[in-house]
């Protein structure tokens, strides 16, 4: 390992980046653009006031009271009144409302007669989040009615009000949402999406650079400039990206997380340490895969399509145990998976070191896998790439 050579190669890589508008855009514009665009998308963290319609056939004080209670909940906004079921169904079909509540004739009479008064709830379930929120709100309001009704029954039997209340709901339930007290969408998704943005822009930028070397026949030049030493070559090639994205990781953790009010409950230094291992493993993987592309466009096109599958396969949104074994195996080969678990445990759950040690070991193993894969690929390309002759192309650093 020769530091002078590595420094020269890093400078050379910086020149390549500066001279390539596409890589420049990917490395210096895309991360900020996406961090802003995607980050602010979830800035309110959760939805409020989901549009809900009403078909009130009863038109009584009781039906209006029920609807007012429902409208007072945070997630529901009763903003469409319909006069018939077909009209309300049209409202759903046109996506004017995400659901509607149907109160049939005789609602009040049944309530007064102490009979069960059925109401209808029709949900547009094409999107799960609003549908769940409406369902939850209607269920909670109807449960509230149940408690009041039972309480009144016990009071009518000369039971003390306090006792009547406890008799009405003898076994209550308290659900504590741990690590995300308001159970909101932003806190659930955003920490991972921010790192996914860094992951993808790093991969696209690095892949473009490596593929560009191959396209322009500069791979061999790079090997020669590194004295055919793998450590020199790979450090020079990926060093710039590593430093840049380490700086971005600092930015995300120190600026973006607080800006979006995202928690970092664990040790910040440990988080940064884990990020270094993750970025190192990712850059080695990135170099390895990019070395199979012969053109910059080819590399970009393919890597751009990995964003959604790579994110979904990590198990952040869907349980990894529900996926087929082969998918679980592939998932475990991607550094993003242990890193996301590490971020979840350390930043969100704030656990102590022994509890995230497995993820660090996993990341280190993947780092080793990436290193070995890159090393053998380097040796292979050294032998395979055409030897430099007198008509060798000048390295970018040469004016």
């Amino acid at each position: 390992m020769n530091l002078k050579i590595i420094w020269k190669l890093i400078q050379k890589e910086a020149l390549l980046v500066l001279n390539d508008k596409s890589i420049l855009l990917v490395l210096f514009v895309a991360p900020f653009l996406y961090l802003f665009l995607i980050g602010t998308t979830y800035i309110k963290k959760d939805e409020e006031k989901v549009s809900v319609g009403v078909v009130d056939m009863d038109h009584t004080k009781s039906s209006r009271t029920f609807l007012n209670k429902l409208n007072a909940t945070q997630k529901v906004d009763l903003n469409h009144a319909y006069y018939s079921l077909p009209e309300a169904n049209t409202g759903i079909s046109a996506f004017d409302v995400q659901g509607y509540v149907y109160i049939p004739y005789g609602f009040e009479k049944k309530l007064k007669r102490k009979e069960t008064a059925p109401i209808g709830l029709v949900l547009n379930n094409t999107r799960f989040l609003p549908s769940n929120d409406i369902n939850k709100a209607v269920t909670l309001v109807s449960l509230d009615y149940a408690m009041t009704s039972r309480e009144k029954f016990f009071e009518s039997k000369a039971t003390l009000p306090k006792l009547a209340r406890s008799n009405a709901d003898p076994i209550s339930v308290q659900v504590n949402s741990v690590y995300n007290p308001t159970n909101n969408y932003g806190d659930f998704l955003l920490p991972f999406v921010l790192f996914l943005i860094l992951h993808q822009t790093l991969l696209i930028g690095l892949s473009e650079s490596v593929a560009s070397d191959r396209e322009k026949g500069l791979m061999k030049v790079g090997f020669k400039d590194s004295n055919n030493n793998f450590i020199n070559y790979i450090s020079g090639k990926i060093g710039l990206y590593l430093l840049l994205f380490l700086a971005y990781s600092f930015f995300v953790l120190l600026v973006v997380f607080p800006f979006f009010d995202l928690p970092i409950h664990g040790n910040l230094m440990a988080l940064i340490g884990g990020s270094v291992i993750f970025l190192l493993a990712t850059t080695l993987y990135g170099w390895f895969f990019a070395s199979f592309f012969n053109t910059e466009t080819g590399a970009m096109e393919v890597i751009a399509f990995t964003s959604y599958p790579v994110f979904l396969i990590t198990g952040v949104t869907w349980s990894i145990n529900e996926m087929p074994l082969i998918v679980q195996f592939i998932s475990n080969l991607i550094p993003l998976r242990p890193f996301f678990i590490f971020v979840k445990k350390l930043a969100i759950m704030g656990v102590d070191a022994p509890l995230y040690l497995n993820e660090i070991i996993h990341l280190l193993i993947l780092l080793l896998v990436g290193y070995v894969a890159a090393y053998f690929r380097f040796r292979y390309l050294q032998k395979r790439e055409p030897k430099l002759g007198n008509n060798r192309r000048a390295p970018l650093s040469t004016p």
Binding site: L33, T41, K44, S93, A94, N167, P170, V173, V175, V327
Partner: protein
């Protein structure tokens, strides 16, 4: 006879040119096969069942065991751990990988008998709100069931008209009807949307290299010759070729991916194909616009990727557009997929008649107009490259 028609000659030439390009093979064969089937495999189980939970029964009584039996009987939960201390509760999420911990307090049964209110505490791991919501819904259901059965036992000795029991216990009964994916199947929910967002990205990205790639490879003269210098022949000949590739991808999604993963196709297939045809057409022409505006295909490609990559997030599919700030809502509006998706969900999930998707069709047509405006812009900016023959004649 068709050979005399410029559009057909360009179409045929383009089909062959695309087939010979490695990048097109990657985009239209390798990427979809890998991505679509990976997505299908991720969600192949469809619904979440048997979430691992831990139970801390600090009472160990008949009633607490009854409560636990209710938990065991629920399809949502699977009790994987029984814990025995407060300390274990803290570590259960990390050490035992459970999604919730149910804590039944000491003297649970005794207090119920003494008519002292008791509370079951549930700690749900809300780092994933999909699990968090499911735990909440099922836990409330089960607890209400147990609570109501105890309440009935207290009411009975006080004297209650049997016909009024249900009305007193549950005065309002909510009868839910779920339209569009009543099974709450994640596979039906996410795979169609995700596969089509990838499909439109593929078409857009490929189209964004349609003209500038010819300039780069010095093959534009061949295109001019095939079209006899007629730009409309170039444009529509290329369009038909890209449309053929795009519709083939639709075929893979609808005829292979969906059946393989058991995803049903609801709705009118004609309306569905109209929407897909329009989405592909819009993306082809927007891509052509970029391709004509930017000589450097890498820059065109960058812009195509930047513009399209967040399409799924902004479409409002998983997080509603109305909950986004105005700037993000505006960005969502300038992505054709956002409007396509609304129409698609109406037809595909709700089986609505065609007239319900006129607003979305109208919006997609506006994007088509934008595509043509971009093409006109490209014509104005790079006319010397697009009409090289005239220049040569002038020389």
């Amino acid at each position: 006879m068709l050979g005399n028609w410029g559009i057909y000659r360009v179409f045929k030439r383009e089909l062959l040119r695309l087939a010979q390009q490695k990048s097109v093979r990657n985009l239209f064969i390798i990427v979809p096969l890998l991505a679509f089937f990976l997505l299908g495999a991720i969600y192949y189980k469809g619904a979440l069942r048997e979430l691992p939970i831990a139970v801390y029964d600090n009472d160990n009584s008949t009633l607490s065991r009854t409560y636990i039996r209710f938990l065991e009987a629920s399809p949502t939960f699977k009790i994987t751990h029984y814990i025995s201390s407060d300390e274990d509760i803290e570590n259960a999420f990390v050490k035992n990988n459970v999604e919730a911990v149910f804590y039944i307090p000491k003297d649970f049964y005794k207090n119920v008998l003494k008519k002292i209110p008791v509370q079951v505490k549930i700690y749900s791991n809300s780092t994933n709100i999909v699990f968090g919501n499911l735990v909440y819904r099922s836990a409330v259901q089960i607890s209400q069931l147990v609570s109501a059965s105890v309440a009935i036992k207290r009411m009975a000795p006080l004297g209650i008209d049997p016909s009024k029991i249900s009305g007193t216990l549950l005065p309002i009964q909510v009868n839910s009807r779920v339209l569009g994916n009543p099974q709450y199947n994640y596979s039906y929910y996410l795979i169609p949307g995700l596969s089509i967002v990838l499909l439109q990205m593929i078409v857009f990205i490929a189209a964004s290299r349609a003209f500038n790639n010819e300039w780069k490879n010095n093959s534009f003269q061949g295109l001019v010759a095939a079209s006899k210098g007629n730009f409309l022949s170039m444009l529509f000949g290329k369009y038909l070729a890209f449309l053929t590739y795009g519709l083939s991808l639709c075929g893979i999604v609808l005829a292979v991916l969906f059946p393989v993963f058991g995803i049903p196709i609801y709705g009118n297939i004609g309306s569905l194909m109209t929407l897909l045809f329009l989405l592909i057409t819009v993306n082809i022409f927007l891509g052509f616009g970029l391709s004509l505006l930017f000589k450097n295909e890498l820059i065109a490609l960058d812009l195509a990727i930047f513009y399209n990559s967040p399409a799924f997030v902004f479409s409002g599919f998983t997080f509603p557009i109305w909950a986004m700030p105005w700037f993000n809502r505006a960005y969502a509006d300038i992505i054709p997929f956002t409007h396509f998706l609304t129409g698609f969900l109406k037809v595909y999930q709700l089986d609505t008649p065609l007239h319900f998707i006129w607003p979305e069709i109208g919006k997609l047509l506006v994007f088509l107009l934008v595509g043509f405006l971009l093409i006109l812009g490209g014509l104005a900016l790079n006319r010397k490259l697009i009409f090289p023959v005239k220049k040569m004649e002038a020389i």
